[in-house]
């Protein structure tokens, strides 16, 4: 296959490419553009929260008809938080993260020439691209984009009378998401089939790197839960456009009674969160997989408890599909259901704790190479723990009553899935950049990027827990209507300053990224001395990945610092160096791990 070089034109190589490496870059760049939009929006609404009545020329410049003298309008505030959430969760952290690294790494780490279906892979990207374009177009609709929150609960999302964004803006949102789901499903099926069928000789499932396990399980959760969101969206489209009453009943608005009878918004909440909660893990598991790989490689130590890590990924995935009701404790559903969901929800703490402790044990007595990728992975473990612990409070239905939909929740999920997943994504980019572009990223800029981001992430989200405990609801345009919240104003200013600094720090990353593509130091074949087999491919990309035969795999991916005498930590390395590629056959008498 590798000898068979068909002529590639610009279009087949860079645009309608079927090569997984190019598709992964396409996902990454599109995700980054969407990320810039999403983060920029959060900067705008943070300005509004810190200085509610102040005029900003940047708001005047970008919000056009949705602002008055540089102060954004209330419905535009809601639109911004809605689109910020949608873009960050789906377009950046689902497509940008999973799409990029699943595509890049699956064939390379399991030893395949390409994805099972290169064509479907290409379709998956282009559907994602179309859905991104539709989402961006929806920002320019006259009445404003969708503004019912990223959870788009009807009736608010169904009735343009209720909020202007529920007109054409909401229609485009639904269309965009329907296309997005199609893209995600095609991609996920491809990942599953590829991992199951195209592993190279010797790559047993039990020898898969943890990244592969994470992407594999993530794809399965996606296939199980995304179709449910699609049906929820379709029924909402029916209610909005064809007069059905799946979610609507007994509504009096703008002076008239609407015809809807017998539907229930609670049904929508069930359907939405049946995806919505697994979605958290669709976002997070790939980041955890990437981190497992990077922490092990840069600690020069095997990942601690490989089997437990795989087991906990599976346990988290399974539990994630039966906990959605914890978003609905006070939705009006039967309190008995609340009890069940409290129980299943808190169980997730167990596999999560196992993962966190296994990371920490991997660090213990390592020889830590503190490259930017490693810093972001360690940052992930830290924010994952900080954000995860407050889940014990929120998952307890009795406590959730009083902090539901307050800033406590906002702080919790931003740390545990937002910041953590972004950190995982950054770690992945710094680590595999040489594999993607054949060059290295600059480390000094990487260090600056990490530290400013880390400090601002905590600066933004840690104090936010406490304004939530003051009872401050989320999605409030301003807190000035309640004198009881006057004492959170100072904290809001601090949070906004940290947010602006953190947002600006991402420019360091963007600069580093694009400059390194062209001016970075040329990469060597295996710059991090890593065991996984993607580093046995040549630096220059070629269609089919390996020039000759695909290498055979003889061991798991984590034989770092294996010693002659397993009991003596100071004895010589068994293979003369502190890493052993998966392609190296076992020595005579060597025990496989």
């Amino acid at each position: 296959m590798s000898e068979h070089h068909h002529k590639e034109t610009f279009v087949t190589k860079y645009i309608f490419s079927q090569d997984h490496k190019m598709i992964s870059k396409q996902f990454l760049i599109t995700g980054m553009i969407m990320g810039v939009i999403g983060v920029f929006m959060s900067m705008l609404f943070r300005l509004q929260l810190a200085w509610p009545e102040k005029s900003f020329s940047i708001i005047e410049a970008f919000l056009g008809p949705h602002q008055t003298d540089g102060v954004m309008n209330p419905d535009m505030y809601l639109a911004l938080v809605t689109i910020h959430g949608t873009i960050m969760v789906f377009f950046v952290l689902t497509a940008g993260l999973s799409g990029t690294f699943s595509n890049l790494l699956i064939p390379l780490q399991i030893g395949a020439r390409d994805m099972a279906s290169g064509f479907l892979n290409m379709i998956s990207y282009w559907l994602f691209f179309i859905s991104s374009v539709v989402m961006v177009i929806s920002l320019f609709v006259e009445a404003g984009p969708a503004s019912a929150g990223w959870t788009i609960y009807p009736p608010l999302s169904a009735l343009p009378q209720a909020i202007p964004g529920s007109g054409a803006g909401m229609t485009l949102w639904l269309v965009s998401m329907a296309i997005f789901i199609a893209s995600s499903l095609i991609g996920s099926l491809n990942y599953i089939v590829t991992i199951l069928n195209l592993r190279t000789k010797g790559m047993k499932m039990t020898r898969l790197p943890l990244t592969m396990w994470a992407f594999f399980i993530t794809a399965i959760i996606g296939v199980v839960s995304f179709p449910v969101l699609l049906s929820a969206a379709l029924l909402l489209i029916f209610d909005r456009s064809f007069g059905t009453s799946f979610y609507l009943s007994d509504i009096f608005i703008s002076g008239e009674v609407l015809h809807y009878q017998g539907g229930s918004p609670v049904l929508f909440e069930h359907l939405f969160w049946f995806l919505g909660h697994p979605e958290v893990y669709i976002v997070l598991l790939p980041a955890l997989g990437i981190t497992s790989e990077i922490i092990s490689t840069h600690s020069r130590k095997p990942i601690f408890g490989y089997r437990a890590m795989v087991g906990s990924i599976m346990a988290i995935a399974f539990l994630s599909t039966i906990v959605w009701g914890h978003h609905m404790f006070i939705s009006g559903m039967n309190p008995f259901l609340g009890s069940v969901f409290t129980f299943t929800t808190l169980l997730i703490a167990i596999p999560s704790a196992v993962k966190a402790f296994n990371y920490i044990t991997t660090l213990w007595k390592g020889n830590l190479q503190l490259n930017p990728a490693m810093l972001f992975s360690i940052g992930l473990v830290s924010t994952f723990v900080t954000g995860g612990l407050t889940g014990l409070v929120l998952g307890d239905s009795a406590l959730d009553i009083n902090i539901h939909d307050t800033y406590f929740v906002v702080a919790h999920f931003h740390l545990v899935m937002g910041v953590s997943a972004i950190f995982g994504m950054y770690a992945g980019i710094y680590h595999w950049f040489p594999k993607m572009y054949g060059r290295m990223m600059n480390k000094s800029m990487g260090y600056w990027h990490f530290w400013v981001t880390m400090i601002s992430a905590y600066g933004v989200f840690f104090p936010m827990h406490f304004i939530g405990l003051a009872g401050l609801p989320r999605r409030y345009y301003t807190n000035t209507a309640f004198p009881m919240f006057d004492d959170v104003a100072d904290t809001n200013v601090v949070i906004t300053i940290f947010a602006l600094i953190g947002g600006a720090a991402q420019l360091i990353f963007l600069a580093n990224f694009f400059i390194s593509i062209y001016r970075g130091k040329k990469a060597t074949q295996n710059p991090w001395n890593s065991n996984t087999i993607e580093w046995t491919t040549p630096v220059e990309h070629l269609h089919g990945n390996w020039p000759g035969k695909i290498p055979e795999v003889h061991r798991w991916a984590y034989d770092y610092s294996k010693k002659v005498d397993p009991e003596d930590d100071d004895s010589d390395y068994l293979h003369g160096q502190d890493w052993v590629s998966q392609t190296t056959p076992l020595l005579e008498g060597e025990e496989s791990s």
Binding site: A162, D250, D396
Partner: protein, 336 residues
């Protein structure tokens, strides 16, 4: 046009930066021992920063937090919250220490060798069982309290009040002498009958519609929630109470007020919080000073004025409450 101007400036900065980087060194790419050493120490410094921030928030931001529960049912919420917060607080202090201290201690050096340590069932057993044990406590207490709050026994004879939501206001309806609410539906909304009460229902006649919620101290109150347009959420933070208002269905929540508004104003935590707020208001030049009141606010995104959808709650003694209620007209009087 201004947006274009900003974008143009951004591009200009980007291009000049690009030019500057021509002379920059993009050759340093892999961490050396010097980097490991420095970054390891940075992590130790970050640990100090994190601890300082946690302690600052836990101690000095305490004053802005909600005061003790003003409902009897909420007392256990506060206790459960304290237990949970202590547990996760301790876990947070220990685990963050381990992460950052190990990163510092085991920062890489050329001559060092990592320990080959791939598995230990004993350790894994410990950190599977330890959280499980803690969870038994949290889940057990949590579920007990949840049942406590959510199920109202028939023999408790609660005072029934309907809370009615619409964009962007709250109304309340008292069930009157029969303590039974008349039926309601959006089809009955007309003129002064803004809550759509069915006046053909005999239970409706003595109902009373008000715009300010008054509650008697020490009597269980059963709230019935309705919404006429979109989802709203009736959030009464001081009572640890919240329930969504869902168009097309009636939801409910019950609690027993523990302190009157006057008593709550004397509460130590409330006094400290109110003082703090008034100091800030004075600095900002606000004319009126703030006085504590219970409040019901909307906590489910419901439209443009979501941020200002509120209703005042007054808790008073049974006598005061009865006097106040007697003065309110019945629906039979207001709706003809």
């Amino acid at each position: 046009m201004l947006a274009l101007f900003y974008i143009f400036i951004g591009v200009a900065i980007g291009v000049s930066f690009w030019q500057i980087t021509r002379i920059m060194n993009f050759r340093s790419v892999i961490a050396t021992d010097k980097d490991n050493n420095f970054q390891g120490k940075m992590f130790l410094g970050f640990l100090a920063f994190l601890y300082a921030m946690m302690i600052y928030c836990l101690i000095w931001m305490n004053v802005i937090m909600l005061p003790e529960s003003a409902s009897i049912e909420g007392e256990h919420d506060d206790t459960l919250f304290d237990i949970s917060f202590w547990l996760i607080g301790i876990a947070q202090f220990i685990v963050q220490f381990l992460i950052f201290y190990f990163t510092f201690k085991y920062r890489g050096k050329k001559e060092n060798k990592a320990k080959f340590f791939a598995d230990s069932h004993k350790l894994e057993l410990i950190w599977t069982v330890a959280p499980a044990v803690v969870l038994v406590v949290l889940i057990g207490y949590g579920l007990w309290q949840w049942n406590n709050i959510m199920y109202v026994a028939e023999d408790e004879d609660p005072l029934v009040i309907e809370v009615y939501a619409q964009q962007f206001r709250w109304d309340a309806r008292y069930a009157g002498d029969d303590n039974t609410l008349g039926l309601g539906n959006v089809n009955f909304i007309k003129g002064v009958n803004t809550m759509g009460v069915d006046m053909g229902d005999e239970f409706s006649q003595d109902d009373k519609q008000v715009t300010e919620l008054h509650l008697p101290k020490g009597r269980k109150v059963l709230f019935k929630f309705r919404s006429q347009d979109v989802l709203h959420s009736a959030y009464m933070p001081h009572f640890r109470a919240q329930m969504n208002c869902v168009p097309g269905m009636v939801t409910q929540f019950a609690f027993t007020p523990k302190y009157t508004t006057e008593e709550m104003r004397q509460n130590k935590e409330v006094v400290a919080k109110v003082d703090g707020i008034n100091k800030i208001r004075k600095e900002n030049g606000a004319e009126e000073s703030y006085e504590f009141d219970y409040v019901l606010l909307c906590n489910k995104i419901c439209g443009a004025s979501h941020y200002n959808m509120q209703m005042k709650i007054v808790v008073e003694t049974e006598e005061e409450f009865n006097d106040w209620l007697a003065k309110q007209p019945t629906l039979a009087e207001t709706i003809k």
